[in-house]
Amino acid sequence: MKQALEGSQAIARAVSLCRPQVVSAYPITPQTHIVENLSRLVADGVLDCELVSVESEFSAASVALGAVAAGSRAYTASSSQGILLMSEVLFNISGLRIPLVMTCANRALAAPLSIWNDQQDSMAVRDAGWIQLYCADNQEAVDMTIQAYRIAERCELPVMVCVDGFTLTHTLEVLDLPDQQLVDAFLPAFHFDRKLDPANPISVGTLVSPEFFTEARYDHHQALLQSAEIIEQTRREWQDMTGRDTGGLLGVAGDADARVGVLVLGSITGTLQEAMEASTDTEPACLITLRAFRPFPEQALRDACSGLERLIVLERALSPGAGGIVGSEVRAALSSLDRPPRVFNFSVGLGGRDVPLETWSRALAAVAGNAGAGFDMLDLEPSRLPQEAL
């Protein structure tokens, strides 16, 4: 049934439909509403789970880790500095192959302090060994959260579902929440083979000597690579059950014969799609939405870009001193093509700066001359720079 819900509320309802047994979280803007809504569902008796209020994000992640290790389906959510405080535990969760699902309500990192949206937080933990999925809108956030549990539990890998803070979490959107029966059919009860059980004791998190460490890493890396197929498979199964094509590794929209492509992650997809559809005075271009950043969908990306001459990568994070994060990875992935497109990399919308419709034409105009294929900040206002930077 279609209904208008705030993004956070929708995500909380989607999590609730997955019947988590343990939810532990620590509040941080803009994630807070998600956990508040979950807490209300528990208080109202809609969701039967152990809701653990902890004293920090470190504990939130640790409790969730322990809960899954003990055989429970668990959930947590955070943002920004909270993700950083969790980061030690995030590596442990993935290394221990704990199938946990969390939401990252994307927000910029301090300093300077900002509560607004960009994706620096999840990008900062891209190497934590988690599956990272980026949602374009709140319908995707709902669908991909439910898919995430299925992916996580099949691969025994944790999944971070990234939704842009405020833009998605605090915005009302008409969306369709699946009913409980459907979710129950899609997502069987969680059974963890390696669960901690006093009757059958094992040690988790033990010391691994140099003899085995490389093998442990290889196994983890392979699991992430192989999860790409599971992500695609899950997308198809979800489509079969709901009729909605959401999730998967990446999506392509627009002119199939275009020579120019624009690659984005997250909520600016909708803005650029609208700009693209409304545009009459720009050259034909297609819009590529990267949904899975980890595993990095190298083959799918090569397929999507094989006919392009130029590819513009817009991203809401950067690696200071190097440039774009996604852009660098895309450039590396495409370099093995016979005729790789020229990759132009821009950051946009850092720290919550609005990404307007004109971004589309502005980006295309910036690469029209085929010059300067490095990294740049598309929406930089030079007049606001400090004196010494000029």
Binding site: G95, L96, R97, I98, E156, R194, P201, I202, S203, V204, G205, T206, V208, F212, E215, A216, D219
Partner: protein
Amino acid sequence: MGLKITRGSYAKPGTSLAFDTGSWRIQRPEHRHTAAPCHAACPAGEDAQAWLALVEEQRFREAWETIVAVNPLPAITGRVCHHPCETACNRGDYDTPIAIHHVERFLGDMALQEGWDYPLAPVLDTAPEIAVVGAGPAGCSAAWHLRRRGFRVQLLEATPEAGGLLRSAIPPYRLPALVAEQEIGRLMQTGIRLMTGQRLGRDFSLDELRDGFAGVFLGIGTQQGREWSIDSATPSDLYVGLALLKRWMDVGAIPTWSSVAIVGAGNTAIDLARVLKHAGVPEVHIISHKAIPGPDVPAADAMPAIGREIEQGLEEGVIIHEHRGVQRLILRGEQVLGVELVHMKKLSDASGRLKRVAFEGTESILHVDQVIPAIGQVVDPEGVHTLLDNRAYFQVDEWGQFPERPWLFTGGDARGDRGTVSEAIGDGRRAAMAIEHFVHSASDSPQDNPGEPIGVDQLNLNYYEPGPRPAVAVLEVSGRDGYAEVEGGLERRQAVAEGERCFSCGDCLTCDNCWTLCPDMAVLKTREPTTDGSYYVFDYGYCKGCGLCANECPCGYIVMRDEV
């Protein structure tokens, strides 16, 4: 090889349970009970730590029973003891010592109020009989401990009632007569056969005792004032301090001079000075060779009287002349007009020995109309001159046993090296132990040494919280009439709070630190107390000997012992 890494790198119990990490150990933790400083310091031998732990759990009767197994008179010692336990208390190095004597008094008073009976087994008619001479603190203690050990006891007292100095010389403002009467009266109900009006040397002899009893304890105290004169001069109407105090206790009246000098620095001097002051003597002087006790005064140079009593005496207006001696009596005929005082101090002589020296030119005159020596007492030789051999006190070993008379024991003031109620009670207990050994011809020797007490450096003070020592009501100086008790007692909640404040030095506090913090889960918790009395055992199969438990034990109850 064949070994494979598991998904998520988990490990089978092969490493966590079957892996014998205990084999890595070079030191093993062990529980070791060490005497608390209060225990080692108690002249009576009480383990205050043990009974404070019971008070904390509000097991008051068991706490009282723990005391009376050592000291049958806690309501009395809780009032009159100089409590060296509190000076020794490790808590003194943290904030303030536990108010041990106040809690002891609380328990003693509760026992009297509730009418608790002493825990005792009936005595057999065929049990050996011991004679105890003198029903003062030493005799009462010896009688009690002999009775507890199953002996029949004949207690022979020269005066009409049991109690000795407790009832004849300790003023009621320190020890109310009713408390002394009840506590001693109840002790006399335990099957000890008391015969009053029986004086050694007059009504019976030592030889008769030797022939009639399996063993004999002499708790006869010091009943004779030490001889005193200045250059062979004494006033004609000389009063001896203790005798005067006893007379006041007995008849309730005392001469009221206008100015008195008491010579001496012990408890009799202070008690008498305060009694005189309460009776209305305007000027009471104490002439002391030693100094008023204080933080900068070494113990050897401090007046031997109880500090609290000196302090209260000063509050009441008693004037103490420190480091002074009487050089000359100023007499008209044989009537005292005053005394000439001189500064005196102990200095080392050429051979390094300390010798009291009078400083010429420091003389001063003090006008008084009476001088009262309170310089100590000696054993009355009546009936015991063969034992004294012209000495002032008996010469005995640490158990109070006389050389060449193995059936005969003594303790308390008659030893000469004692001087307090608590020491007398300790002597009575040790003598009872030795008598039991003698009567049963045991080959081993009795043991009564709590050992070297645990120091504050062996505790982990991080686990204790600061807390105030309880305050008790103290009578205003204007309200002190010589009879009303000066110090009040603790309330129940205050006593329990003191139990909680106790560090439990050297004994298990059951805090769970070792159990919680052991990284190998090699400390196991038990439902029932283990053989060492704690609720924990070490699983040496897995203990790596890291010493964390020993470091984090607040009480110093866990020690690491080398195994190599």
